[in-house]
Amino acid sequence: MSNEKSSAVAAQHFLLRRLHSLTGIVPIGVFLIAHLTTNSSLLWGKIGLRGEPGPDGQPYTFQDGGVAYFWKEVFWINSQIPHLLLIEITLWVSIAFHSILGWYYATTGKSNVKRYPHQDNWRYSLQRWSGYIGIFFIFYHVATLRWGWTWLVPSGTKWSHDYSVSTLAAALQGSTEGWTAAGLLVSLFYFVGITLLVFHFANGLWTAAITWGLTVSEAAQKRWGFVCAALGVGMMGLAWASLYGALAVNPQDARVVEEQLLESKGKSGVPTPTGRETAAPADGD
């Protein structure tokens, strides 16, 4: 009975469960919203520039506007946000914690959607599957685009801050010269990964409210469900816009815009993210 279990173990169990729930929202979920907002600017960036002309004085095309705005966002993040590495490490640790614990928790259940094909039950199973696949996706995403594990990238593209759009597009499309079969696979993996993870967050937000006891009545759970669904749909739009933006970019055209931006930043004396005044084109792609 209850007194056979030491309260320390019981408290730990509860603490870990609640930390698992909490980390999914803060910092991971909050970061996800910011991350998708930034990334989707590849598509809507031209609007964000509010008519601002390019370095050559000419107005940007829609495509180049997206490239320029996203590039500036990345530039801003890497030059203006303090303690960036600390923030990154916090995120990595949180994701690792949430993943390992989540994987373990998921193994304690046994899906039964065949027998009980209710919508809630489907989401129960999907929450677990999106977690499993999402872990692999996030690992691939961070390892290739942040840690520089280029051997996992088709044609070995190394993502760089200075060429944030062209290297991203090349990493997803498979090469700088257009689509390759491997690039198609990577892009498909991205589509599946981001779609599942946005679902995972929106659904996790819904269940977290029950876990913490915010939503108790069925009506409240339903109301909160609509809020989470709306947030999920919105974030799904941002996620798909991000991916579409990255896939629609021509890496070579993006490179031209990036060179111009690097040069103008150099002229204004603002150091580039990597600390070079005016960067020479990186080798490789």
Partner: protein
């Protein structure tokens, strides 16, 4: 016998039951703990108004399979025969429910319809459709699902009860410990070793009963013990929110609301314990 194909069933009252029909019952059988399981089918002539129990009584009197092979009578558990004791709970056409309140006219109105019967899968089988639900009751003891009034002297009148709370409690009090919520729960799984019962998921029924007795003015004397238990391994945080429990509950108890309510209670309890508790 091979496992049956998807049973042919109709929605209740969609089809007028045919008189003098025969329905085929395919039953998951097992002679005892550790013995091999098998499927056996029986053709049963249906009388108007008969339920699964009367079908099983017919099979007990005529234990002959569709192959003409004589077999042992099918064993099942039952008590009240009016859906208040929970003993006759089994899996009928893939869905858990009480066999006494399951009318053949509803689930198999046509001649030649098929029905499958299986024991609940989350409890050890004693024999055929009879399972041992001991863990269900053990889990009620884990959360001390009772009002502490035993003693050697008269305790006098209890505290006044709030009618609002009484209304909430009434619905929760209709739980008959049948096990439907556990059978349908993906987080509650067969655990034959009682050594693990303390740390495996406690189940919606026990969470809801903890809420029932915490809402009771005298029962709440044990509130902290119940919440401590629900915070521990296998407690309320092990719920995966699949919400099957509430959909299969024959008494329509708001189990998911109880889970939310106890989630809230342990949130508050843990904060109180962290900031003011001695241990």
């Amino acid at each position: 016998m091979v496992a049956p194909s998807k049973p042919v069933t109709s929605k209740p009252d969609e089809v007028k039951p045919e008189m003098g029909r025969t329905v085929r019952f395919t039953i998951h059988r097992c002679d005892g703990p550790g013995k091999a399981a098998r499927w056996e089918s029986f053709d049963v002539p249906i009388e108007p108004g008969s339920n699964i129990i009367s079908v099983l009584q017919y099979i007990a009197a005529h234990p002959v399979t569709i192959e003409g092979k004589r077999t042992t009578p099918v064993v099942w558990d039952s008590g009240c025969l009016e859906e208040v004791c929970g003993a006759c709970t089994m899996v009928i056409n893939g869905r858990v429910r009480q066999s006494c309140s399951c009318l053949i006219d509803h689930i198999a109105p046509r001649n030649g319809d098929e029905v499958t019967l299986e024991p609940m899968s989350k409890f050890p089988v004693v024999r055929d459709l009879w399972v041992d639900r001991e863990r269900l009751f053990y889990n009620l003891r884990r959360v001390k699902a009772w009002v502490p009034i035993d003693g050697t002297y008269d305790l006098g009148a209890g505290p006044t009860e709030n009618p609002d709370k009484q209304e909430t409690r009434y619905k929760l009090s209709t739980c008959m410990s049948c096990g439907c919520c556990l059978e349908a729960c993906p987080q509650f799984n067969l655990e034959e070793d009682p050594e693990h019962w303390d740390s495996a998921f406690i189940g919606a029924h026990a969470i809801s009963q903890a809420r029932l007795f915490n809402e009771h003015e005298t029962g709440k004397q044990l509130k902290r013990d119940r919440l401590d238990e629900l915070m521990g391994p296998g407690g309320v945080s092990d719920c995966g929110n699949a919400q099957n429990c509430v959909k299969v509950c024959p008494k329509e108890i708001p189990l998911t609301e109880s889970i939310g309510a106890m989630g809230r209670a342990v949130t508050i309890h843990s904060l109180a314990r962290f900031f003011a508790g001695k241990k």
